[in-house]
Symmetry: C2
Subunit: 314 residues, 2 copies
């Protein structure tokens, strides 16, 4: 059996079973007194992650941003990022200057720095980032913790990156590439939400809303009832025919998804500062229900998944 | 100008200058009260690191081992390793089972565990490991700290991996692949040495003894006088014509290189437990001198360096 028959998430489960020590959260945790050190890693490759025309600056920014997004989802303060670069030897030296500048700008923008790395010769451009964060144990926001009746909400808007990907399929569009790669992880928002102690579960929406909801359902053994008209569809997506679909099934938005006790929703919303939209509630049944025009149906379980989604970026 | 014109170490310097915050040590350090958290990352690729015939078990072991070797060189206790895998979708599922088994066995053997990771689709097999360690600030063994008159010594024996690489060039040899990839990082030895507070500088010999000495010279602004007859040439290398050369210029042995105050040498040697050989002394001049048959000459500054050494493994 090949990896393309089972997909990325099943592959991860197979490995996690061997290790026994993986929590299947956005970050691994290391005990450090009254804190956790958070560790997360993400590897990207030119072929599968970067649209044609991506600049090295954008690539450097992106790899740092997506790692910081995982730290943000746990309420962590980022304290350092390492970068491993695999590059063909015929790459121009300016490539590493620009890539470092993008990585450095992103790290600084979100209050941290690049602390180390590794450079190797490889046949195609490959970048692996690892971000380290720290969080008080009492503030840590896990993936597992939803309770029936909790409000489910998202930061910002969804589908904007999906719309940019669609527009790229039609036409080379440098603005769309910027939208896809210059990701703004919700670092301050994550820390603010964590400090309220009102969030029962949290993750970042890297592979799309539907995919994130199904992952949370698997971990928590309970589902969600989502109101279609509440979903904050990004303005770029609204203007496209499949814009609503993008807001459910496209990856790359890197917003945060929280479940919150109803009595704490106002406090979390105020603390977070950015747009936070209530989109539904946690239910006992193991289903993700989408209520659209008064009718209930099950949301499709699809989004970006490596080994299964070849040909699409992100 | 291309990367192959400047080499891996110059590329790293260019990036480190941008970041400003990189210490060019084996590990990055994060302040954590009376301890440092250590972070190190290493990325390997089938084309440039794994000889034909390498098994997934060996690859999994190797990526964990080389990362732990960097933690060992700083005197750190490993507390977790993350692995990012880039794999072609047509890879068999057994590949990830075996790779995880190798990684898990190595992590457990050296007192730690795999705590997380990432899996992505890529055109060729790529593995990025990140190891996290912790060490009391007073025990940390930096690269910078040599003093003229310090004894320079190495653990174990050198050239064994170089000899195995040579034997592979002549013939496919599964035992040689095992010697190259089933690396035993000096984790306990590193912690024991650190606890003596007698080590003034330390690094692991991943790219060969000569390369390590030149790197230490650049960082410390002082050189070394090495006695050729003292170098502990591995038995596998001794039986080959170029065995002594392998002990100087071949990478992949992952032994530790220490400089030690003369009055502490005995204490360090006893604490470390394994074979520790005095091979020379730190000198004021910025030179690496090799004394062979009573004659002095400068040691060549060569070893494995990515972008410059294409075609060789490790």
């Amino acid at each position: 059996m090949e990896l393309r028959d089972i997909g990325e998430r099943r592959a991860i489960t197979i490995m996690a079973e061997r290790y026994g020590s993986i929590n299947l959260d956005d970050c691994a945790t290391i005990d450090a007194g009254d804190e956790f050190f958070l560790v997360t890693t993400d590897m990207v490759n030119k072929t599968t992650h970067f649209p044609d025309g991506s600049t090295p600056y954008q690539m450097g920014w992106f790899i740092v941003a997506v790692n910081l997004s995982d730290i943000a989802a746990k309420g962590g303060l980022p304290v350092g990022v390492t970068l491993s670069l695999g590059l063909p030897g015929d790459e121009n030296v300016d490539f590493i200057r620009e890539l470092s500048r993008g990585a450095d700008d992103c790290a600084k923008k979100f209050g941290t720095k690049i602390i180390g790395g590794d450079t190797k010769e490889m046949d195609s451009i490959t970048i692996c980032g690892t971000a380290i964060g720290r969080v008080k144990k009492g503030d840590f926001m896990p993936r597992k913790g939803t309770r029936p009746g909790d409000i489910i909400c998202v930061t910002g808007e969804l589908g904007g990156t999906g719309a940019a990907l669609n527009s790229l399929e039609e036409d080379k569009d440098d603005k769309a590439i910027g939208k896809i790669l210059i990701v703004h992880p919700r670092v301050e928002e994550g820390m603010a939400a964590a400090s309220t102690h009102g969030v029962t579960a949290s993750m970042d929406i890297s592979d799309g809303l539907a995919s994130s909801l199904y992952q949370l359902m698997d971990i928590n053994g309970m589902g969600f009832s989502i109101r279609a008209e509440k979903i904050p569809v990004a303005v770029e997506a609204k203007s496209r025919e499949n814009g609503f679909d993008s807001s459910l099934y496209s990856g790359g938005d890197y917003e945060l998804l929280f479940t919150i006790s109803p009595d704490k929703f106002k406090a979390v919303k105020e603390a977070v500062g950015c747009k936070v939209t209530e989109i539904g509630t946690v239910i006992k049944e193991e289903k993700v229900i989408l209520i659209e025009g008064g009718k209930e149906k099950e949301m499709e379980n699809r989004g970006y998944e490596h080994f299964l989604s070849r040909g699409k970026t992100i």
